[in-house]
Amino acid sequence: MTKLSPVLSANWDEKDSFTIEGYKRHGGYKAAATALGMEPDAVIQMIKDSGLRGRGGAGFPTGSKWGFIPQGDNKDHYLVVNADESEPGTCKDMPLLLANPHVLVEGIIIASYAIRANHAFIYLRGEVVHVYRRLLQAIEDAYAAGHLGKNIGGKGFDLELTLHAGAGAYICGEETALLDSLEGFRGQPRLRPPFPAIAGLYAKPTVVNNVESIASVPAIINNGLEWFQAMGTEKSKGFTLYSLSGHVENPGQFEAPLGITLREILELSGGIRKGHQLKFWTPGGSSTPIFTAEHLDVPLDYEGVSAAGSMLGTKALQIFDETTCVVRAALRWSEFYKHESCGKCTPCREGTWWLVQMLHDLEAGKGTEADLEKLLDLCDNIAGRSFCALADGAVAPIISSLKYFRDEYLEHQRNGGCPFDPVASTNFAAVNS
């Protein structure tokens, strides 16, 4: 049985965990001091050797990403932290920043020093005012304590850190759209190459990393490689935050070594809500193909989830029981992608519109079996033919739900509408509120 391993969340139950005093009581800012005493390249090498992979969805090795930044090029370098957290189901970075914003600030100091950046940015989604407050206060307190600004820790390293609020656009989580947004444009993805490591923010070498990736760095510096590598699996090292939501007895954040299974998390947390059974779930947000009860023992690491036909993504475990209509779920997610399509390329802009139309009809019982083929055909013409990965995410719930629940789509037609009672799936179904 895999055990939980709270690292990032270890102090969240303390009243002042978000203050600089609360953070320092647990050794906060020691890792930054250690790192600033190392050669920058040695810091990059250490993160490479640790095996830390990006926690924003794609799992790219963090140290390698840092290593791509050209050195000695006499250009400004930038670190941009992706705190846009908008992938449906994903809810790990916001509680982390509410409870412990300083661990991100410390990670930013270390990462910026390693890649020789003197200005870093946090791009925070705009719809979370209290998270903004906590981060802003943490940054101001870090400046006042000499952890940011000029000549940090007397080591000759200068770093400015700017907090930037988005304004409600899922696409700005895509790293190149994020950079355009941060430069003051509409947030639309850029053609790659050039990659951000060569031409990122203001066309300068830039690292874009997820909040959790950067926040994991101080613990690695403090505790060493062996400690980190003792957790996780062969190619997916370390600990990570799994976010359990939906029809479970006890939803929440579970920090565990990579490779834990949903069955284990459910056993630890109290299982599916009483009297109900697991029907389908997402391993890593709505853009990752859904799983069913047959996937309860899939190791939730990058390789394990891929091998089973989905993606680890953001580790957003959204759980739905037998009261949930899968067509309704697919339709609602499709409406999300349609709303969030940035409009830059035709297959996605027009295609997501058509997906919603067809799913509406299917949900209303007005579809036919031939429409299911048409729907899949449409998906084929969107995925892989669009400019960015938003479109691939848009078809994931549809293709995967058709794979496992084809007959449920047809049942809508036979029934002349949705056969489910939406009240039964609410969490106040029995309470009569």
Partner: protein
């Protein structure tokens, strides 16, 4: 409300804009916080706000408008003092968000992106707000109201209209107005960061289990 209702920006407000611009290596990057700031002053993105931002950043007004209209948080008409966002993305919708939206919409007699006649409450169907472990989620002025029901949200808006909204679940001790919170998003520290809890019950679930097992 027309643009004539607004007198020109004060010297102090213009100085604040200059400070916002100074945070960035290139001035154009300040467009988003400046739009949040305009919303904090005017209640939405006003024509005079667009013009001022364009002047400050040496852009055409059309360029500023193009950016402003791309992002859903920038409004083209005034929000209520209490802007209520009901999450209707799949997980919240299924857990009760759809029922909450229907109920509060009927209760207030307004639909998506509409404002009550007294200007107090506006309503919006919102996407996943990164709080799914607290579903169904409602955001008021972009503060978290966790684990809601149709009844709790109807009570919430009634109390808000009476000038006495309940405190957010994970937020400051007292709910601020939509304009006040827009100023925070422009980067103006309101000094409330230390209010409220570190983490809600769901955020602590794994930690608690790990400690109990020890």
């Amino acid at each position: 409300m027309s643009d004539k209702d607004f007198i020109s920006f004060s010297q102090e407000q213009i100085a604040t804009m200059d400070k916002i611009i100074a945070r960035y290596p290139r001035s154009r990057s300040a467009i988003m916080p400046l739009l949040h700031y305009v919303q904090s002053l005017d209640g939405y993105v006003t024509p005079r706000g667009i013009e001022k931002i364009a002047e400050k950043l040496e852009l055409a007004t059309a360029e500023v408008t193009a950016v402003s209209t791309f992002y859903t948080q920038y409004l083209t008409k005034p929000a209520g003092d209490y802007h209520v966002g009901v999450c209707v993305n799949t997980l919240c919708a299924v857990m009760g968000g759809d029922a909450i939206y229907e109920s509060v919409s009927e209760h207030l007699g307004i639909g998506n992106h509409e404002v009550t006649k007294d200007g107090k409450v506006s309503l919006e169907r919102i996407e996943c707000n990164a709080a799914c472990d607290y579903a169904p989620v409602v955001m008021v002025n972009w503060e978290f109201y966790d684990n809601q029901t149709p009844r709790s949200v109807n009570d919430l808006v009634d109390a808000a209209r009476a000038g006495n909204p309940p405190a957010p679940t994970r937020g400051p001790n007292k709910l601020r107005t939509w304009r006040e919170n827009s100023a925070v998003l422009a980067g103006l520290n309101d000094g409330l960061a230390n209010e409220g809890i570190s983490a809600g019950e769901a955020s602590l679930r794994g930690l608690k289990i790990a400690k109990d097992k020890k």
